[in-house]
Symmetry: C2
Subunit: 216 residues, 2 copies
Amino acid sequence: MAGKVFFSVSMSLDGFIAPEGWKSAKRMDAPGVQRGMGQWMELHQWVFPLRFFRENLKFGEGGEEGRDNDIARETFERTGASVMGKGMFDLGEQSWPEDAPFHTPVFVVTHEKRAPWERPGATTFHFVNDGIEPALHQARQAAGDRDVRIAGGGATILEYLNAGLIDEFTIALSPVLLGAGIRLFEGVDAGRVALEPVRADPSQRVTHLTYAVRKR
Amino acid sequence: MAGKVFFSVSMSLDGFIAPEGWKSAKRMDAPGVQRGMGQWMELHQWVFPLRFFRENLKFGEGGEEGRDNDIARETFERTGASVMGKGMFDLGEQSWPEDAPFHTPVFVVTHEKRAPWERPGATTFHFVNDGIEPALHQARQAAGDRDVRIAGGGATILEYLNAGLIDEFTIALSPVLLGAGIRLFEGVDAGRVALEPVRADPSQRVTHLTYAVRKR
């Protein structure tokens, strides 16, 4: 039996998971993406010093251990397959290293027909053309008894949340205000989604908040 | 010398501090206010069972003790004077008990000229007509060595935050999504306001997050 379906993102205190210029951006060298890079770095600043981050991207030895590192590693290790939207894939395709950082099957929800794209290090991207539920179904089967991560972007996460397909999620709440950008919960069906606090785990840099999703 | 200038609010995980129908509402019996009452109760549900809340509103004996109660009491006790906007005052005037729950001087930023309004229990409302800085100045003087609380609403808090007049703030992050309403940080000057995490304090019902405000 498959495990849970979850997402895990870094969010600013004012609710953004990406800077303004990242909305509908298709290329990493788009001016809006480049302009927002500083904010994106701030949002994720808790990740870059971690030992796990360095290992996973083959940046070499060293890096910080501790609660943040454990959480990043646990999130990776629980994940048996990921699902992502086409927007996230398009930007990632231009920025992930050849040895992409997933090391599991990844199911991309897209209208584009494309053969599976296999990367060194056991990441294979599968392109699913019939919507979010079939993509999740395939991911569950690929994940075995591990969990399925809805990797992003925001619109894809929200589709799954509103469809009642998310079991739980974790937010790394960053001590930063972006003022504008892509809001995690923009368009959430608040009349339908209820939350139950599972865990709150403050670290030096962020607060890790985990909620279970219930129907109202 | 006066203490710190702070605010303390309950915020939904999607960033709202009041329901949609409370925007620019002048009366508690406005349909939008009544329609949003359930969401407002959910947002503040951590407060109602507390011993301190019952005591302060003279609801009688009993109520829960523990971390939430201590935090509510500490927030009250550190406050030597409050500042609020006219919108919050208008709604409060119709809903606070005669013995209003501040028990200190309160400075209302408003264009309305009105003599001080003294309530039983040591709450006196002073109406300040020359803007947020003079209101804060008067509140600081009244507070002595205790702190000044910017009580609300959201627009008033944001004016003080963007003006660089807030030293720190605490958010009780509620496990609820509103989907729409009054956003705490709508219009924040993100290029100017930097945050430094001070404390994160998870309780059973909410996560209490305290940040110091710095200039960028």
